[in-house]
């Protein structure tokens, strides 16, 4: 998923969450508004009931005055009780509204006065009879006046509540409108985000398909190239093999006939003729070695490694033993340190040691006391094997040519050789996933370092200028003299 689509997905999630919270809050608010409306209705109802209670009390009084029947005192008493109860109820319902509380407080003495008036006339009736009571009613004192005031007050209170009800109804309708808006807009946004997500996914899928197709094309091209390369490589190897191979036949003739000429007619040739003939034989022999080395180089290129766990120690010893004839008559000191065991092609690895050691033997030829040292050291967690001699060495400026085929850093007059040995060594080391490099100084000897196995880091060459002796794991050398 691209960065852009991650951002879009995060935004979509935020927006949907926001819509959810808003909807929830609108619902809560709507519910509260409705409760308030209901509450107002209850308040209005309690006001109505106060008036009804007073009327009931008055009706009871009137009945008693007319009949003198004590039964009529009962509705009067109920009305009186109820009016107190309902006023109390009203006060409780309007605790949040100081103006209504005040109005209720002012209403109470009026009601009390009205009720007191009713009680007084009922007492006149019971004391002085109907006529006196009727007169008292007719004289009217201030009963009707009081009742008018009460109605007025209650009407005002009701108006207040009606005003509140209107406000609350408006609020409820506004919040319900808001809720509708939130739901509609929220759903619209949600749908839009879904569409956007669908579009983004579609586009990403398209892109991915395209990328996959591209990758497939690239892979195909790569496979084709690899095939071409391996074919070319194979052709080159076959070519160099057949060249080397076909060169041997005429070479054998040159060597054979010059040998016969020397043997059969040598005595008849003068010194100069014999020297020429000797040069021909030397040339043929050298070319023979070149061709043989080329053949083994091309063979290594084509050969499959047969890997097995191998103690490098034993390969090293075999190589030293093989070189014994070349060391005869010379003073060569071998300093052999312990080497590790590893998975490798034993035959090829032995050739690595033979080539490196025979180089060391060759280039120390002019030393009275040759010292050849082989050991292992550790460099940045990689095991490095080194082969050091105190021989002719070379100038470091030519180190780049060291492992090239037919590259030589010494005159043939000083040290013979075909210039293939180190190329073979490098090819074998590389086939084992290792690396080889060298350090030397002219006339001060040379040191070859190599690793085996694919490197875990690339920094292994960074430290070779230090003194590798300090890192030698096996400090004890076995010293042999040839």
């Amino acid at each position: 998923m691209s960065f852009a689509s991650k951002v879009i997905a995060a935004c979509a999630l935020m927006i949907l969450l926001g819509i959810g919270v808003l909807s929830f809050r609108s619902t809560l608010r709507d519910e509260r508004d409705r409760e308030w409306v209901t509450h107002t209705h209850v308040v209005v109802e309690s006001l109505e009931e106060i008036l009804i209670d007073i009327n009931q009390a008055e009706t009871g009084q009137r009945g008693y005055i007319l009949t003198g029947d004590a039964d009529y005192r009962k509705p009067f008493e109920e009305g009186t009780q109820n009016v107190h109860r309902d006023i109390e109820k009203f006060r409780e319902l309007t605790t949040d509204n100081p103006s209504q509380q005040e109005a209720a407080r002012r209403l109470q003495p009026l009601i009390a006065a009205r009720l007191a008036g009713l009680v007084e006339r009922m007492e006149i009736r019971s004391r002085s009879g109907l006529v006196a009571a009727s007169r008292a009613v007719a004289s009217g004192n201030n009963g009707e006046e009081l009742m008018e005031k009460i109605r007025e007050r209650v009407g005002e209170m009701r108006e207040t509540e009606d005003r509140l009800l209107r406000i609350r109804l408006e609020e409820a309708s506004a919040s319900s409108q808001r809720m509708k808006t939130v739901i509609v807009v929220g759903n619209a946004v949600g749908i839009f985000i879904l569409l956007l997500a669908g579009f983004v996914i579609h586009r990403e899928t398209g892109r991915r398909n395209l990328a996959e197709q591209n990758l497939m094309h690239i892979n195909e091209r790569l496979e084709r190239r690899t095939l071409e390369l391996s074919e070319t490589n194979h052709e080159l190897e076959s070519f160099s093999y057949s060249v080397a191979h076909d060169l041997r036949a005429p070479l054998r003739q040159i060597a054979g006939y010059s040998n016969l000429l020397n043997r059969d007619y040598g005595p008849k040739l003068d010194a100069e003729m014999q020297r020429y003939l000797h040069k021909i034989e030397e040339g043929a022999a050298k070319m023979g070695r070149l061709v043989d080395d080329l053949l083994s180089l091309s063979k290594i290129g084509r050969q499959q490694l047969s890997l097995e766990a191998t103690p490098l120690d034993s390969l090293l010893r075999q190589a030293v033993d093989e070189l014994a004839p070349e060391c005869s008559g010379r003073e060569v000191e071998w300093r052999i340190g312990g080497l590790f065991s590893t998975e490798c092609d034993a035959g090829l690895m032995k050739q690595v040691f033979v080539n490196l050691l025979s180089n060391a033997v060759k280039y120390t030829r002019k030393r009275e006391h040759a010292v050849i040292e082989v050991g292992q050291m550790r460099q940045n967690d990689t095991r490095v094997i080194f082969v050091r001699d105190n021989g002719a060495g070379f100038e470091m400026q030519y180190v780049g040519k060291l492992f090239g085929v037919f590259q030589r850093l010494h005159k043939a007059r000083d040290f013979e050789g075909t210039g293939v040995g180190l190329a073979i060594v490098q090819r074998i080391i590389r086939k084992h996933g290792g690396d080889i490099w060298a350090e030397a100084e002219l006339d001060q000897g040379a040191t070859f370092y190599f690793t085996l196995g694919w490197p875990q880091n690339d920094a292994k060459k960074s430290n070779t200028n230090g003194k590798p002796e300090s890192a030698i794991t096996n400090e004890v050398y076995s010293v042999a003299r040839s």
């Binding site: 093999y241 191979h245 076909d246 041997r248 036949a249 070479l251 054998r252 003739q253 060597a255 054979g256 006939y257 040998n259 016969l260 043929a284 022999a285 023979g288 061709v291 053949l295």
Partner: protein, 157 residues
């Protein structure tokens, strides 16, 4: 029939033939050598046909020195024909060639070659190799009794 042929040398290079004969002669192994310059000539000789139709299967050469790269019929084809026929399959065949190609070695041994030798470039080494091969197959090795395989063929095996 003048004499029994001891070695059939199959090689298309006159120089190689000459050097081989000189090496054999140097080592006193040059009594009876027949040279074939290509595979077809070699097969004519071995199967007693064409110019060699008067030869008899009962006196095969004691050794065939066979090069691989030959005109017309190559060395491995010649070897295949020799090993495929009841009358010639017991003849020792030594491949003597410039090639040390693994493919050739494997094919040679698959077809039942008796030995496989790469010709050394150095003439002294070449001569020594020829001496050892000649000594072994002509003097040390016991060939089957004359006519043994021909007789079997006659009995219809």
């Amino acid at each position: 029939m003048s004499h029994e042929v001891e070695i059939l040398l199959v090689d298309d290079s006159p120089e190689d033939v000459e050097l081989t004969i000189i090496a054999l002669r140097r080592n006193n192994l040059s009594n009876d050598i027949q040279v074939a310059e290509d595979g077809a000539e070699a097969l004519d000789f071995l199967f007693c046909r064409g110019p060699h139709k008067d030869r008899s299967f009962s006196h095969p050469p004691k050794l065939v020195l066979l090069d691989l790269k030959l005109p017309k019929v190559d060395g491995l084809e010649v070897l295949r024909a020799i090993r495929a026929d009841e009358r010639t399959k017991a003849i020792p065949v030594v491949i003597l060639t410039s090639s040390k190609e693994q493919r050739d070695l494997i094919d040679g041994y698959n077809l039942g070659v008796s030995a496989y030798i790469q010709k050394p470039v150095d003439f002294d080494q070449f001569s020594e190799t020829i001496r050892q091969v000649g000594m072994f197959w002509l003097l040390i090795n016991q060939a089957p009794p004359a006519g043994a395989f021909v007789a079997r063929k006659a009995r219809g095996v």
